[in-house]
């Protein structure tokens, strides 16, 4: 039965939870109460919710580490409950907090575990391990024969992801996999997961209690309440812009607007034009540009139209040449998020984020007004009945 799941390598499979419940023996209330969820193929779906809401139980029912008391679970077109649990699990990648690597096995043995259970031949396993370690950014020559305790927490977590991907499963379950590493490493690991996913297009079910992580990683977020009741199941943008109820709003938190900014890229908003001068222009012409505009500063570009400096009117008065008045400039690219742009706006004395477009050429600026307009637009789109998801 796993054959069929394996025969579609690299692409995800749809997962359907159909009126699933879980009652632990002796418990009065179900941990998961009649929950239904449709997880589209090839997407990252985040289960997010407070501790004890049953989100981990719900995820663990997909690979039957927790047997549902009632309901159906479909993976692809297969009924998960009709597949032998060990076989089912070998066809589903599983990564957990603190990696859960076996300390007495080398990195190679850890990553090659599931292919070994599936009885791949040695050569194929060795090649696969090398490939996967490369994929998660660990040099096989350097790391394959080390033991887990010889690796940092972040490296162990990478190995954990490699191990989950080992048999090229269509579905990956990740239970707070980055919960135990420092914030900088976590951010790097999140970026790398997104990079991997853009190539692999697995169906990933990812459990976290960190809404920021959910927004960053999720194609969709399922906000779960007590007993895994689905409070809202939508794209991060839609949840941020229009939380379904007060509970979701409370969970999304006060930083919702800021988080929305992190979901929009500079290329998706209208840049404002701002006067620019060439680095070799004369003082006179720069003064004329300033006089002809409503601004008290201009962008200075180099020979190839790349924004490199800025100059303010007050400083020009005391300068003999343009070069004397130049001040350094931090630019954002069109690929940056509006959150980056806000950071630049707050950091720069001219209160704008100067944007470089294709070829690093000067493209315009983002100002606070741009950001406010964007948030207003996102909100009205989310509230409008036919509002789309962008």
């Amino acid at each position: 039965m796993t054959e069929q799941l394996e025969s579609q390598p690299s692409s995800g499979a749809q997962i359907v939870l159909d009126h699933v419940s879980k009652v632990y023996p002796g418990a009065k209330q179900p941990a998961v109460d009649d929950t239904s969820l449709d997880i589209p193929a090839g997407e990252i779906v985040i289960f997010v919710g407070p501790s004890g809401c049953g989100k981990t139980t719900m995820m663990r029912m997909i690979n039957r580490l927790s047997e549902p008391t009632s309901g159906r679970i479909l993976i692809g077109d297969k009924d998960a409950l009709s597949i032998k649990p060990t076989e089912l699990r070998r066809s589903i990648g599983y990564a957990i907090q603190q990696a859960g690597l076996f300390p007495h096995m080398t990195i190679r043995q850890n990553v090659g575990l599931v292919p070994g259970l599936l009885r791949w031949d040695r050569k194929k396993i060795a090649d696969r391990v090398d490939e996967l370690l490369d994929l998660v950014g660990l040099d096989p020559g350097q790391y394959a024969d080390r033991y887990p305790r010889q690796l940092s927490g972040g490296q162990q977590q990478r190995v954990g992801v490699a191990r989950a991907l080992a048999a090229d499963p269509p579905v990956l379950l990740m239970d707070e996999p980055f919960g135990a590493v420092d914030p900088i490493t976590r951010s790097t690991l999140q970026d790398e997961l997104l990079r991997l996913q853009s190539d692999l297009r697995k169906t990933i079910v990812f459990v976290t209690h960190d809404f920021g992580e959910a927004v960053k990683l999720g194609d969709r977020i399922a906000v779960l309440g007590q007993q895994s009741k689905v409070l809202q199941y939508d794209t991060p943008q839609a949840i941020l812009a229009n939380p379904a109820d007060d509970t979701v709003a409370g969970f999304v938190g006060s930083g919702a607007s800021l988080r929305q900014l992190s979901l929009v890229r500079v290329k998706d908003v209208d840049l404002r034009p701002h006067p620019a001068v060439h680095r070799t222009d004369s003082l006179e012409s720069v003064r004329n540009v300033l006089a002809g505009s409503e601004y008290d500063w201009v962008v200075v570009v180099d020979d190839r139209d790349r924004p490199v400096n800025w100059v303010r009117e007050s400083r020009l008065r005391h300068s003999q040449t343009l070069a004397d008045a130049l001040e350094p400039l931090d630019v954002v690219s069109t690929q940056s998020t509006l959150e980056d742009a806000l950071e630049a706006i707050l950091a720069e004395q001219h209160a704008s984020a100067v944007v470089s477009g294709p070829g690093s050429k000067y493209a315009g600026v983002v100002t606070l007004d741009t950001l406010i307009d964007t948030i207003t637009r996102l909100r009205s789109e989310a509230e409008a009945p036919d509002g789309d998801e962008s």
């Binding site: 089912l88 699990r89 957990i96 907090q97 603190q98 007495h104 599931v114 887990p148």
Partner: protein, 255 residues
């Protein structure tokens, strides 16, 4: 990191390594000295019956055989029992089995020997070996249970989540991670066994206890001292082998 085994796990330290070097040298020096001292003097005819190369080496060999048989039994019984009572379905047996092992160790070894002799009305090798095996069972059983219990639940979860069957989980994850504990228990059992084997002469199972007993009864200090010192040397030697086993068989990633 909980991915590594609990920091209280037995580990081979620097001092332990030094001990592994010094201990066999000490055994050799002391053993050679006492043999030289005993053989290099004018022995009476009675003494010569006991103190001759053939008899002493036969007794040492018997003593080692008893120790070896006890160890084999303790491993063959203690480890499977330890595994059994840590399985979810058989946990109810645990107080019962650990209780028996506790009684075995709490009861005096000499009492166990005599009781088995009285019960079976037999003497010989196995009548000496079996009570000593019961007496030395507890360390291996207890350390097997401890070793299996201390395996991080999240590792078991990771193993199950990847599709390992229960047996694969036991043999590839739980037991390897329990090995340091089991070996530490084995070393204790070995030392208890080799020490208690000096009593096995009571049921005619041989061993160095014969020299000690004869020396005591005949008030012959040479025989008494030779037997005692050789028994001590043998205990230290067996302990050394236990240490070597820990050094070589503990999983590399745990060191």
């Amino acid at each position: 990191m909980t991915t590594a085994v609990d920091s209280t796990a037995p580990k081979t330290t620097g001092a332990e390594r030094l001990r592994l070097l010094i201990q066999p040298a000490l055994v050799l020096v002391v053993g050679a000295a006492v043999i030289f001292w005993a053989f290099d003097r004018d022995l009476t005819a009675t003494q010569q019956e006991n103190i001759n190369v053939g008899n002493v080496s036969a007794l040492i060999w018997q003593h080692l055989l008893i120790t070896f048989a006890v160890t084999a039994i303790v491993l063959a019984v203690g480890i499977p029992l330890g595994i059994l009572v840590t399985r979810p379905g058989a946990r109810v047996l645990r107080p019962f089995i650990v209780g028996i092992a506790n009684i075995g160790q709490a009861a005096p070894a000499i009492g166990l020997l005599v009781l088995l002799f009285l019960w079976t009305a037999k003497t010989g090798f196995w009548i000496g070996v079996l009570p000593i095996a019961l007496y030395s069972l507890l360390p291996v059983l207890a350390s097997t249970i401890l070793g299996l219990d201390q395996v991080d639940r999240s590792l078991m979860d990771a193993g199950r989540g990847q599709g390992m069957a229960r047996s694969a989980l036991l043999f590839r994850v739980e037991l390897p991670l329990a090995i340091p504990y089991i070996l530490a228990g084995l070393r204790t059992s070995l030392v208890i066994a080799v020490g208690t084997a000096t009593l096995s002469f009571l049921v005619n199972a041989g061993g160095l206890g014969i020299l000690i007993d004869t020396g005591y009864k005949l008030q012959d200090n040479v025989t008494l001292i030779l037997g005692s010192v050789l028994a001590v040397c043998l205990a230290l030697l067996v302990d050394w082998f236990g240490g070597l086993a820990e050094f070589f068989f503990n999983p590399k990633g745990l060191r």
